[in-house]
Amino acid sequence: MTPFVADVLIPVGKVVAVILYPMVMVVVMIWLERRVVALIQGRLGPNRVGFQGILQPVADAIKLFFKENIMQRQADKLLFNISPVLVMFSSLLAFCFVPLGEPIRIGSYTLTLWIAESPVGLLITLGLSSISVFGVIFGGWASNSKYPLMGALRSVVQILSYEIPIGLTALTVVFIARSMDLVEIVRRQESSGVWYGFLMPLSFVVFWISAVAETNRAPFDLPEAESELVAGYHTEYSGMKFAYFYMAEYAHMVLVSSLVVILFFGGWLPPFPGVKAFAFLHVLPGSIWYLIKIMFFLFLYVWIRATFPRYRFDSLIRLVWKWLIPLSLVNFLAVALVRYLL
């Protein structure tokens, strides 16, 4: 392997991949959501554009690209413009630290499918993903309109509250794995032979509920609750800026699903890593397993959305402060104690 390939081509390729991968996943996810929701509701969903409607999100994106960009006169121009960028940027940036799959061995060279393997990867990812709340509040405030403002306020309270159980449950994984490195966490699950989701089901459940809440998805989609706040914080956005918000939401979902898979379901490891009888499952490469698992959680997102009514604001906050935070604290202490004793 020449130095040029190793030092220039591969990093550039990775950067391109890190931008393309979420985009492709977002397109797939939007299509998946609309199809799955339709099928759950007894109808068909988009099936005209491209094979089974797979090009539907592409058509949407092109159409939005050619839409007029409306900027209200009373809006705060700077904040109004940067907030969609901020939301999109934070989601994409977080993907730099999330592995996209198993390292690939080409001869003596190992191609790692991540840009940076940081010893504090988990921390950075969580931090970056919560930057998006700034985009939301800037957007809601800069619109200078009441419904977006209410949506933004709801969003801030909600995301700030749900950060706590996310942090606490992620910490239990860190305790067990003794690392904050996302790749290392997967390796530990491989060596210990059990996925942390089965080891600590409570952690997983709390993390998942909080993660759904943090991505503003139903039944926690209060900041953009259509039947109450029209379209929430992005009510005043049109055209491409709206598309940024729209896509960032899905990118965020992909990110969270990846994190759940890495932290609790063994990343790219095939199921039953320790059991000999299931060794045939190793035929599929790790990256495929990784994708399958992510897809499952994305499906779960949609499935939940199609099933439940929406929480009310006070019960949403009650849920996190009276149930999730105490539960994650107890869970945290229990894991710490077990870890200390063993």
């Binding site: 759950i40 007894g42 109808r43 499935w303």
Partner: protein, 161 residues
């Protein structure tokens, strides 16, 4: 007992799981969608589509310009004038203007027509790109099928856009 059951329901998220089970079952159930342009849900025999005038088997118009429909109509859709040519037994309409865009599809005109000249058709495709196509004159009241569509949607083929 019921309190305990309620508590267990809550702790193990049983209500949530029950909901997820229902939607998953419906996910795999049969879909009811009628894919319109390819499949059409045929209107029922009594369907109240657009009003059409009819002729008898000899090709003679049935309408005798008695204006019963005009009187029965609550929304002033009709503007009819009749004329009896010398020696003819029956009156014939010379003017029969019908405004589709005023019609409330109630069927009062059909019920009063003594010769069953005016009847509902089963045409539900009533789209035009301008209002001209929604006004019908005497000759156009007999159109049906594709020629009716051409009258309704004259602007559709005209290009522009």
């Amino acid at each position: 007992m019921s309190r305990l059951r309620r508590f267990l329901r809550m702790v193990f998220l049983l209500d949530i799981l029950q909901g997820l089970r229902v939607t998953l079952r419906l996910y795999f159930s049969r879909k009811v969608t009628v894919q319109y342009p390819e499949q059409v849900q045929e209107p029922t025999p009594r369907f109240r589509g657009i009003l059409r005038l009819h002729r008898n088997d000899q090709g003679e118009p049935l309408c005798v310009a008695c204006k019963a429909c005009q009187r029965a109509c609550g929304t002033n859709c009709f503007d009819i004038e009749g004329n009896r040519t010398k020696g003819a037994k029956l009156m014939r309409p010379v003017k029969f203007d019908w405004k589709l865009d005023r019609c409330s599809f109630c069927g009062l005109c059909v019920e009063v027509c003594p010769t069953s000249a005016i009847r509902f058709s089963r045409e539900f495709r009533l789209t035009g790109t301008d209002k001209e196509g929604l006004l019908f004159h005497l000759s156009e009241m007999y159109l049906a099928g594709e020629s009716l569509q051409e009258h309704l949607c004259a602007g559709c083929r005209r290009g522009g856009g």
